[in-house]
Point group: C2
Chain length 148, copies 2
DNA sequence: AGGATTTATATTGCACACAACTTAATTGTG
DNA sequence: CACAATTAAGTTGTGTGCAATATAAATCCT
């Protein structure tokens, strides 16, 4: 039992620690842009495809509205996005980048390079890691859904 | 630039998503024990070695006192740990498991098995993943330290 | 048409994370 | 010894995450 628990500890903790270490690397970089890590993820999603409903973003980032609603409000207060009720469906709110939000992308483009340095591993390894993580996430979230 | 940013997105997001998916799997299991995921990590650390200072735990879990102090207070309120000022150094507070805290370990021993099922990958793959994550975390946190 | 159900978003409450600050005890230095 | 510097833990403030609930609009059903 001891061994099993310590194995468990290594497993779950390594993921938890890596994720926090990653955001710690991003923090000073994103501070310069005046945004947080989850806010950056939202912007990345919007830079790829602008003008999406709150629900779309929730699905894509697998985040709750309880997380995204106030976050989007903060991005709005920063002048990076606009929130607009759809006339066709008054329940929906469309999120669109402002000029300032689009402009921020230029400042963000150096981030990946910095991160690659910080990670200190070849791109091939990073890509393999990413592949495993995606598979793991799929498996874990399928399990979570089925157990509910 | 587009490609670089979308690559970055895949990298950082996959880690972030995997970590949250992992805690989502633990949540219902830990609910039965009445504790949260970070509280579980603290207990795992204490089950391995009991009677440690707050600073020790901060170091081991790489968490701030701003996170651990209230968390340990909650574990205390649950009757799982005791907090005692050291007579030899009145600044230090030693955290020790209560009888109840030690007993909880028996209920926790089935957790690793459940997790392995949820992860849906062979132990060898999981272990490889863990190895990569530890290496990544080391590299990232070294970078963070050096950039400060 | 009209009321129940569903859907989209927002709000509330609690527990992290972490930066910045505070408090109190110990150590180091002249 | 006195007093500055350091160390250990706790507190405050902001921003997530997420469950549970609220609100309001659209849809379904008869």
């Amino acid at each position: 039992m001891t061994d099993e628990l310590s194995l468990d500890r290594q497993l779950c903790f390594s993921l938890y620690a890596a994720s926090r270490a990653m955001t710690a690397v991003y923090r000073p970089v994103l501070d310069e842009l005046g945004i947080t890590y989850p806010q950056y993820l939202v912007l990345l999603a919007l830079w790829e495809r602008d003008g999406r409903g709150v629900g779309d973003l929730c699905g894509e980032l697998s985040l709750d509205t309880g997380t995204l609603s106030p976050l989007l409000k903060r991005l709005g207060a920063l002048g990076l996005v606009e929130r607009q009720r759809l006339a066709s469906d008054e329940r929906r709110v469309e999120i669109r980048l402002t000029e300032r939000g689009r402009a921020l992308r230029a400042q963000a483009c150096e981030i990946p390079r910095r991160l690659a340095v910080a990670a200190g591993m070849p791109l091939a390894d990073i890509d393999e890691l990413r592949t495993i993580l995606v598979r793991l996430t799929d498996s874990l979230s399928t399990y979570t859904r089925e157990e509910t």
